[in-house]
């Protein structure tokens, strides 16, 4: 557990380009334990790129990212095998998380059922609805105990009930001390978060404001 006041995630002066196209220019982001931060901005503002850099999936051209503990990353497009089912995805993660088959299934089923996923459905993920795939995507990101949760538009395909209960879960995760970062386009989401970070085009200083 990080000391109080020590951010669980801190990105400093992150600059990144794809070829000659500048995507992020000196962006900084800090997330404290138990804090929920929304990242907003137009299409192409670099929201997903910032998330991928924070997750460690891409290296920034300039800047540094500090993370306390393990990062859970829920990408916009679920990274799943089409012909494996939910339990097989859980079992695949077991050795990486150093969990037994039994405990990974127990943890996974608890998370999936919390999110309203039809636990026990042995259909390969290809045959699941978009919302169900996204719930599995989210559960896999949370598995194994994470300190920071990076969610890139995580509710794509959710019905209204799932969307509302998603924010209840976020509130529970933050109460448990997780730092949560959510990329969103929906203004209504901003009422559920502690702080909003806006990435602007043209690139410039990042607007970072507290939600009251």
């Amino acid at each position: 557990m990080p000391a109080p006041g020590v951010p669980v995630l801190e990105a400093r002066g992150v600059t990144h380009s794809y070829g000659s196209k500048l995507i992020l220019d000196g962006v900084s982001l800090s997330v404290n334990p138990g804090e929920v931060v929304a990242i907003v901005g137009e299409n192409g503002a670099g929201k997903s790129t910032l998330m991928r850099i924070c997750a460690g999936l891409i290296r920034p051209d300039v800047g540094a990212v500090n993370v306390q503990g393990r990062v859970g990353y829920c990408p916009q497009v679920p990274g799943l095998f089409d012909l494996l089912n939910a339990d097989e995805h859980l079992l695949l993660l077991a050795p990486a998380l150093e969990l037994s088959e039994r405990s990974v299934l127990e943890q996974g089923h608890a998370l999936l059922s919390e999110l309203g996923f039809p636990v026990g459905d042995a259909s390969p993920t290809r045959y699941l609805s978009g919302g169900a795939r996204q719930k599995l995507n989210l559960a896999l990101a949370l598995l194994g105990g994470v300190r920071v949760l990076l969610l890139d538009e995580p509710y794509q395909g959710f019905d209204h009930g799932s969307y509302v209960s998603f924010w209840e879960h976020v509130s529970r995760w933050s109460a448990a001390g997780l730092g949560v970062v959510v990329v969103t386009h929906l203004l209504t989401d901003l009422t559920f978060v502690d702080r909003v970070v806006e990435l602007a085009i043209p690139r410039g200083p990042v607007a970072d404001f507290k939600v009251t």
């Binding site: 500090n66 990062v71 497009v77 799943l80 095998f81 012909l83 695949l92 050795p95 998380l97």
Partner: protein
């Protein structure tokens, strides 16, 4: 490294791949089609064509396994796998798959061709399968999409099939060593002592390429408090 960290990815690669019934049927049928179509041109030609065409099957499956796993691998490495463990797991399943189908195919070819050295023919076909896995994994790591991967496969295997094994360009291609072993099985004058060596060195190099790319692409997993 725990064996479980290799066996579980190997098992899941197998499940994912073997559930693609149509693709697997087409992949395993390809070498047989090449063999049957070339029987009329003599036993030597049929054995070499059928044997090298085994690469379409095993390398095709390997390319597919590598490309479908790419977006999932990021998540798996973030969770704690090392890229090499995932590669090794995939290699393990695909080599077993290669052994099974190349053994079955060798029996068909031995019965159909009547080679002078049936065991050597079997070894040659097994070598093609064994080389095909690291070849497919390397192509799967290099190719941006399935189309490019398949075109690379068709290009390399197609050129290897077209060229006479004595030509210099043929010697630079991955299946040359195995091609010479198969040739020897049906024609003892075709022996080249460096062929088995080439058949072993090439896959090692290809595996090193695949491992390097997997490592380079891997997420920058950080220890607690470390900076990227």
């Amino acid at each position: 490294m725990s064996l479980r960290r290799v066996i579980v990815p190997a098992t899941m690669t197998g499940r994912e791949l073997l559930r693609r019934h149509v693709a697997m049927g087409l992949l395993t049928g390809l070498p047989l089609a090449f063999y049957i179509c070339s029987v009329s041109q003599g036993p030597h030609h049929a054995a070499v064509t059928g044997g090298i065409a085994m690469a379409f099957s095993v390398a095709g499956a390997s390319i597919f396994a590598a490309l479908t796993a790419r977006p999932v691998d990021q998540r798996l490495v973030l969770a704690g796998y090392r890229p090499f463990e995932l590669l090794l797991g995939r290699l393990l399943f695909l080599e077993l798959f290669g052994v099974v189908i190349s053994t079955l195919f060798s029996v068909i070819m031995v019965l159909g061709t009547g080679p002078q050295h049936p065991v050597v023919l079997g070894i040659g076909v097994e070598l093609v399968a064994a080389i095909s896995v690291p070849f497919g994994l390397a192509v799967g790591a290099l190719a941006p999409h399935e189309l490019e991967g398949v075109l690379m496969l068709i290009g390399v295997v197609g050129i290897q099939l077209t060229l006479d094994s004595t030509q210099t360009i043929a010697k630079l291609l991955p299946f040359w060593g195995a091609q010479r072993v198969i040739s020897y099985a049906v024609d003892v004058t075709a022996w080249t002592s460096v062929a088995p060596l080439a058949a072993l060195v090439y896959p090692s190099l290809l595996l090193a390429v695949a491992a390097y790319i997997a490592h380079a692409r891997a997420p920058a997993v950080r220890s607690i408090g470390a900076a990227t």
